[in-house]
Symmetry: C2
C-alpha cells in the first residue's frame, strides 16, 4: 500500500532566538510565564515588537500554523487508517517526527507548552523508548534522503498549474510519495528546498492557508485510495489514541 | 449558482454560566484575566474543575472547535469565491451570522477575546452598520425557517451511510442547500435539532473532528462545482479580506 509522507516544511516554529532574548518585551513576557526566554516558542502574536529586527521575520513565529495543520492531518480518516506519515521541518532545519497515533492538545497554549518541552528535551514524553514526538537537527534534503520517496511534490505559489485531484492521482499511483507544504505565513520556499521536488505544483491562483491545502490534498487522496469505502468494510475495533 | 449554507450547530460556545460563576477556580481565573466571570468564555481547558456540576458538560466549553472549523471554512476556495454562507448555532440557542469576508484571528486567545466581545456587545466591530459578526437569540429551527434551504443534510454518527462525494453531489444539485455539522466534542445532537434535516448522513464508522468533516465535505463540493477550474479562468483581482 502506498504510504503518503507529508512534510510541513520551513515551519515557523522555533524557540526565541538569541539576538532578541534580552529585548524588554521578551523579558516581560517570559517573566509572566515564569520561564527563561530561551525556553519559549517565538510567537508573532506576542513578540511582534521584538521581532522587528529578525531576518525574514514575515516567515517566523507562527506555531498556530503547525498546530492547526497537524490537528487536521492527524484527524483525517487517511491518517486514522494508517496511510500517512507526518513530519515537521522547521525554518532552522530541525525535523519533528510524529507518531501517527499521537493525539495533540486541542488547546493552543497546551500545544505550545508541549512543543517547548520537545525543543528542550528532544522528545515527548521525555523518558520513553517510543516517543510520540521527537526532534533532531536535519535539513529538508537530509530528511528526503532518509525517506527516499519515489516521487516528491511541493506545493508553491509559483509552480505549474495542477488540480488537487490530479495531484492526488499522482500520489496514489506511487509506492512512497512525499508531499511538501510550506508551514510559514508569507513568502516562498528557500531555493535549496524548492529544487528538491520532482513536481512544483500550484493549485489555486491566490495563496491559501497551510491547513487548507493540506486538507484538500489529503481528502482528494482519500477519494483516490477509496479509504472511506474500505473503512466501512473493516471490523470496527475500539482504537485508543495516544494522548500527549 | 448554488450557495452552500453551512451551520456549525449546538457549538460548545458560551459565556461562563451563572451557576458556576462563583466557583473559586473561576473567580481566580477571572481575576488573572482582569475580567468579570460573566464576560469570559467557558473553556474546558481552564474550567474543567468548575464544570463538574454542569449539565451535559461533555458537550460544552470548547471554543477551539468553532475557532479551527471557522478558520478552515473561511479559508477554502469555495468561500473565497463566494459559494458559502456560514452560521454558528450555539448550545444555548444563539446564532452567529458570519460575513464570508471576515478574516478571523489565527491566535486562539485573540479569537476568544473577540467572541467574548461579540457575546457582550451583540456584534463585532461593536459600532458599525455592517458588522463582520453578529449574534442573536435564535434556535436552529428558527434559523432554518429564515434560510429556507431547498434541502438540509445533517452529519451525525447514527445516520445513513453516505460517501462525502455523494453528499457533495446532492448539495451541488440544490439551489440553496444547508449542511449542519455538530460543533461539540462528544455526544449527539438534541432530538429536536436532528429531526430538522431531510437527510441524516454518516460518512465514516468512527467519530471525526468537526473541522475534518467540514473540510472534506467542502472540498468534495468544490470538486463538484469545478471551483478551481473556474478560479483559474477569472481575472485575478487583489482581494482585501476584512480583518477583525
Amino acid at each position: 500500500m502506498t504510504h503518503l509522507q507529508i512534510i510541513i516544511a520551513e515551519a515557523a516554529l522555533e524557540l526565541i532566538p538569541k539576538q532578541i532574548r534580552k529585548h524588554p518585551s521578551i523579558i516581560k513576557y517570559a517573566k509572566k510565564r515564569g520561564k527563561n526566554p530561551k525556553e519559549i516558542l517565538l510567537d508573532a502574536s506576542y513578540h511582534h515588537h521584538a521581532m522587528k529586527k529578525l531576518e525574514e521575520k514575515w516567515k517566523r513565529g507562527r506555531p498556530d500554523i503547525t498546530h492547526i495543520t497537524l490537528l487536521h492531518i492527524l484527524g483525517t480518516p487517511a491518517n486514522l487508517e494508517g496511510y500517512i506519515q507526518t513530519y515537521v521541518h522547521t525554518i532552522n532545519d530541525k525535523v519533528i517526527y510524529i507518531n501517527p497515533q499521537t493525539r495533540l492538545p486541542r488547546n493552543y497554549l497546551r500545544f505550545t507548552g508541549l512543543i517547548e518541552q520537545l525543543f528542550i528535551k528532544g522528545q515527548v514524553p521525555p523518558k520513553t523508548e517510543k516517543p510520540l514526538l521527537k526532534i533532531q537537527k536535519q535539513t529538508l534534503e537530509q530528511l528526503l534522503n532518509k525517506i527516499k520517496p519515489t516521487k516528491t511534490i511541493i506545493l508553491t505559489t509559483n509552480g505549474q498549474k495542477y488540480t488537487p485531484w490530479k495531484i492526488a492521482k499522482i500520489l496514489a499511483n506511487e509506492q512512497k510519495p512525499a508531499l511538501i507544504i510550506g508551514g510559514f505565513p508569507h513568502g516562498t520556499f528557500k531555493q535549496q528546498n524548492l529544487k528538491l521536488a520532482d513536481i512544483k505544483a500550484t493549485i489555486y491562483p491566490k495563496p491559501l492557508e497551510t491547513w487548507t491545502v493540506t486538507a484538500l490534498i489529503i481528502h482528494a487522496y482519500e477519494k483516490e485510495m477509496k479509504i472511506y469505502e474500505k473503512a466501512w468494510k473493516k471490523p470496527q475495533n475500539f482504537q485508543l489514541n495516544s494522548q500527549v
